[in-house]
């Protein structure tokens, strides 16, 4: 429509279009565009919601560089993302491949794996807090009950092949009864920042809760691959692994890309499970970026400081999205 004057008909169509768009555009301006600009501006101020914001330049960002709790939250979020994305996607792809093998009862299994996805994250958190309760939770009760027979069996087996030392030593170990959600230490750490057992437990819960979602999307992708491709490959004598590498994997690329992008964005924003299960503790070892934003903004009323954190989060998400877009998109077509 550049350059030429619109006809009456075109003008009427354009007017109708703006009418249809008006409510959505209004909401985007008020609740997205203005807030984004405001968030950037706020990040250069000190603001406690009751007094006027005070311009303090880059002070918030300078403080962020020294804020150890924020650094811990970055480490935790990165660990959470790494552990939920790669193993999570691998597991759910494996499950989807199995489910796609034309087995009976697919509806039942799909529903079972999807159950945690429709359950609210608060409910998931509550259920797992109870499962992981140190003395009466099902996990530790299970450990207590199966540990002794298992250790005795394993020790006995080892004793028959060695001189009895290993087996006897093993049998002396009591069943571990860890305080899953109250342990601030872990075997591994990143610099000064521990990856606590509690954080690991939260990651496990997240894996459990997110498996079904990724699996269902993978399944939709797999079902879109034409079966005649597999048939002709089999005629050519391609084995299952070759069929996976040369047909499934390349054709599934758009799906994998989609899941990866949404998983990165989802993991970078983890909040609810952490807030309900540990509120960031013990010793801030489970706090996440968004948990820090929430705490600073609404518990400490440091809205400016929290906005600076939010802006850092935005930069991270933006950088990762751009990276995905440029390097991983490949041939995929999203109509974009």
């Amino acid at each position: 429509m550049n350059g030429h004057r619109m006809t009456g008909l075109e003008r009427r169509e354009a007017r109708a279009a703006y009418g249809f768009l008006a409510p959505a555009l209004f909401l985007f301006v008020v609740f997205v565009a203005i807030p984004v600009v405001a968030a950037v501006l706020l990040s250069f101020t000190r603001y406690d919601i009751f007094h006027r914001p005070v311009w303090i330049g880059f002070d918030n960002y300078r403080n962020l560089m020294r804020d150890e709790v924020f650094h811990q939250s970055l480490v935790n979020t990165a660990f959470y993302a790494a552990c939920t994305i790669i193993p999570g996607m691998t597991l759910s792809l494996a499950l989807a491949l199995i489910l796609n093998a034309k087995l009976r009862g697919i509806t039942f299994y799909r529903a079972a794996y999807y159950l945690p996805v429709v359950t609210s994250l608060v409910a998931v958190a509550m259920i797992w807090m109870w499962m992981l309760q140190p003395t009466s939770g099902l996990i530790n009760q299970g450990l207590a009950n199966f540990w002794e027979p298992f250790v005795r069996w394993l020790g006995g087996a080892l004793n028959t092949v060695s001189f009895g030392l290993i087996g006897d030593t093993l049998m002396k170990y009591q069943a571990p009864q860890p305080s899953w959600l109250g342990t601030p230490t872990g075997i591994i750490s990143v610099g000064r920042y521990p990856l606590s057992l509690t954080l690991q437990a939260i990651v496990m819960v997240a894996l459990w809760a997110g498996l079904g979602w990724n699996m269902v999307i993978f399944l939709a992708g797999l079902q879109g691959i034409p079966t005649h491709l597999y048939e002709s490959a089999m005629l050519d004598g391609a084995g299952p692994w070759q069929r996976f590498l040369n047909i499934t994997w390349p054709l599934l690329k758009p799906t994998t890309f989609f899941i990866f992008v949404t998983a990165v964005i989802g993991a970078s924003q983890v909040f609810g499970t952490v807030y309900v299960m540990t509120n960031g503790g013990p010793n801030n070892t489970t706090t996440t970026i968004v948990h820090q934003i929430f705490q600073n903004a609404f518990a400490f009323l440091k809205m400016g400081y929290a906005s600076a954190m939010a802006f850092v989060l935005f930069l991270i998400v933006f950088a990762v999205s751009m990276f995905n877009w440029i390097f991983l998109r490949g041939e995929s077509d999203y109509g974009l």
Partner: protein
């Protein structure tokens, strides 16, 4: 060999499914146990099942907080919010799919780009905007003096009502609809709004049902929104209300699990009824291989 493989597949699938279902079973069993039976440290067939099935836990859980009110609030927000989102998003999607106007592509890409902005970036300013909504909640015309849309249904209903994802998905769907009917209607002189309401929307039931099921569950399960906006006890939702069973020192696990069952049942029911829309909805997002 083939049989062995199938058997192995079933074993893996069943073990996985058990891992998914057991926590839910454990929740239901705990919710029906007398309080002295939930704190046992040994697991046996006798202690897994309650000695008496204590249905009263559910009544007690309901009585611990105004759960009827929480239920009503959650239902209003989930149903109302979904209806509002579907209306506003489908209107916008129709304009992008069918109408020509200056700036169409630039506007569409801008809206898509907002998907990259984490909700937490806009959270703080949005909170301030809601608090200063003029003429609401005791505010004057400049938005000062009261609490605005905080503790008001509108504070949760309106801000999320236009979603980039919904607009994108519906636009894709509308573009796939045949044009013959609307062209015929246009020749007969029908206005765009007649075409939209009478032709496009009735044809789009599967897409609307899919988006609606997603929207309903995500609003029913929303935690952060109500946590920020609904501080008043009479405005809380079920997800927030569950926390009454936790105090700093003790947790009433039997009642908490009963409450969690009650909060979870509606979404599971909606999911089981709309399962095929869920699945087709995922296909509609354009991730088909």
């Amino acid at each position: 060999m083939k049989k062995l493989k199938t058997a192995l597949f079933y074993v893996i699938l069943t073990l996985g499914a058990l891992t998914m279902i057991i926590p839910f079973l454990w929740m239901v069993l705990t919710s029906l146990k007398p309080q002295n039976e939930i704190f046992t440290s040994t697991l046996s067939l006798k202690t897994i099942l309650p000695s008496v099935w204590r249905w009263r836990n559910y009544a007690d859980a309901m009585a611990a907080a105004p759960f009827g009110r929480y239920f009503l609030n959650t239902a209003i927000i989930a149903v109302g919010g979904t209806a509002l989102t579907l209306t506003i998003s489908s209107m916008a999607a129709y304009a992008f799919a069918r109408l020509r106007f200056p700036g169409r592509n630039a506007l569409f890409i801008t809206i898509l780009a907002t998907m990259m902005v984490p909700a937490q970036v806009t959270m703080i300013p949005s909170f301030i905007i809601l608090r200063h909504m003029p003429l609401f909640g005791g505010n004057d015309i400049l938005g000062n003096g009261g609490h605005g849309w905080l503790n008001n249904y509108l504070g949760l209903l309106v801000p999320g009502a236009a979603g980039a994802f919904g607009i994108f998905m519906l636009r894709q769907f509308f573009q796939g609809l045949p044009r013959d009917l609307e062209d015929a209607a246009r020749i007969d002189g029908a206005t765009e709004s007649t075409i939209f309401w009478r032709i496009i929307l009735p044809l789009s039931k599967p897409a609307l049902a899919a988006l609606g099921t997603f929207g309903f569950t995500s609003r029913w399960n929303d935690f952060m929104g109500p946590l920020l906006i609904m501080s008043d006890d009479s405005m809380k939702t079920l997800q927030i209300g569950l926390q009454v069973f936790q105090s700093q020192y003790t947790t009433q696990w039997d009642l908490l699990m009963a409450g969690t069952v009650l909060v979870t049942i509606p979404v599971i029911a909606v999911f089981l009824m709309g399962q095929r829309y869920f699945v087709s909805g995922i296909a509609l997002t354009g991730v088909k291989g």
